[in-house]
């Protein structure tokens, strides 16, 4: 009896092992490999990138279905194609800067340092330069400005701001100080972009003593671009393969 004991126990215990092995095999698992933190992070990044792509694709689908809807309306005769094209034209003109715009935003009045007895070494530091205006406008654009003008000269994609001695030239027109920069956008953000400590506007005002007075305006009017602009060199690229 004692001699059969070990074998029996071994058989029983191996049977238990076999039971577990069989039930595990039944699960049909894929091979589990150890995962490192790095691979988890990469997988996470991939996942979030894919999610963003998905959202963008959904937006695209929405946009395309809207277009399809418009085209269907044209086909059934409910909408006039001319109306649609006209609204398109309006939108494009607005984007290009050929439309007078209004909205909330800020107005900045900039003037040269008017103090007579200041301890700035060079008189150059007392006056406003094209670079100052450029930097302020760039800050405004970063802050999400949708339309900008200087002294009623609209800034569009090809507008230049260049030094012309005591004046600056914008859109081939000469402008003199004081400069009034208007920008439509989120007033708080725009205000922060020129007024917060450490910004270019703050440096101009506190270090160089140049006058820079931003005001929040609820209803700004920004004029349209008045010049004539034609493409001489650039041509639209053929779309396709």
């Amino acid at each position: 009896m004692k001699k059969s004991n070990p074998k029996l126990i071994i058989i029983i215990s191996s049977a238990i092992i076999g039971l577990f092995i069989a039930s595990q095999m039944k699960l049909n698992l894929e091979l589990i490999t150890p995962v490192t933190v790095k691979s988890i992070i990469t997988a996470k990044n991939e996942l979030s990138a894919a999610k963003i792509e998905l959202i963008e694709l959904e937006k695209l689908v929405e946009q395309k279905s809207e277009e399809l809807y418009a085209l269907q309306n044209i086909a059934t005769g409910e909408d006039n194609i001319i109306d649609i094209i006209e609204s398109d034209l309006k939108m494009n003109k607005m984007k290009a800067g050929y439309t007078k715009l209004e909205g909330p935003g800020i107005e900045i009045i900039m003037f040269d340092n008017l103090l007579l007895n200041n301890n700035v070494i060079s008189y150059n530091d007392d006056i406003i330069h094209d670079v100052d205006i450029l930097n302020i406008i760039n800050d405004l654009k970063v802050a999400g400005a949708e339309a900008i003008c200087i002294n009623e000269e609209r800034i569009i994609s090809i507008s230049e701001i260049k030094c012309g001695g005591p004046i600056i030239r914008v859109n081939d027109r000469s402008l003199g100080a004081p400069f009034t920069i208007k920008a439509i956008g989120d007033p708080k953000v725009l205000m922060a972009a020129v007024n917060a400590p450490g910004t270019y506007g703050d440096t101009l005002r506190t270090i160089y003593g140049i006058g820079l007075e931003p005001y929040i305006v609820d209803k700004l009017v920004i004029p349209s671009y008045k010049g004539i602009f034609t493409f001489n060199f650039a041509k639209p690229m053929e779309e396709g393969e």
């Binding site: 071994i10 215990s13 049977a15 076999g18």
Partner: protein, 117 residues
Amino acid sequence: MVYALIGILIGAIIGFLLPYTYNTAYTLYISVAILASLDSVFGGIRANLENKFNTKIFISGFFGNAILAAFLAYIGDRLGFPLYYAAIFTFGSRLFDNFAKIRRLWLYKEKPIKTKE
């Protein structure tokens, strides 16, 4: 050795026939536990061949090792560090150790022990 194989076969057949399965989350723990108990069975065979088999030691080792291995795997999961490697290395190397001894006992021992097995 043969008994172990027979036992595993019987268990496997029963396992395939029974409709029960467990949660996939526990596979890692079960795998490590299987390795640990397999090592115990090999140890048991070896002890049997050496005529040193002790039921208490065998049973406590069989279940104790399995539970400890599964527990290590679980703790490792909680801590985010694969502690079950310890169990895999230990029981894996011991498994081969035991098997080597079993082979030697099998091949070079006198007839009586061989028939016993």
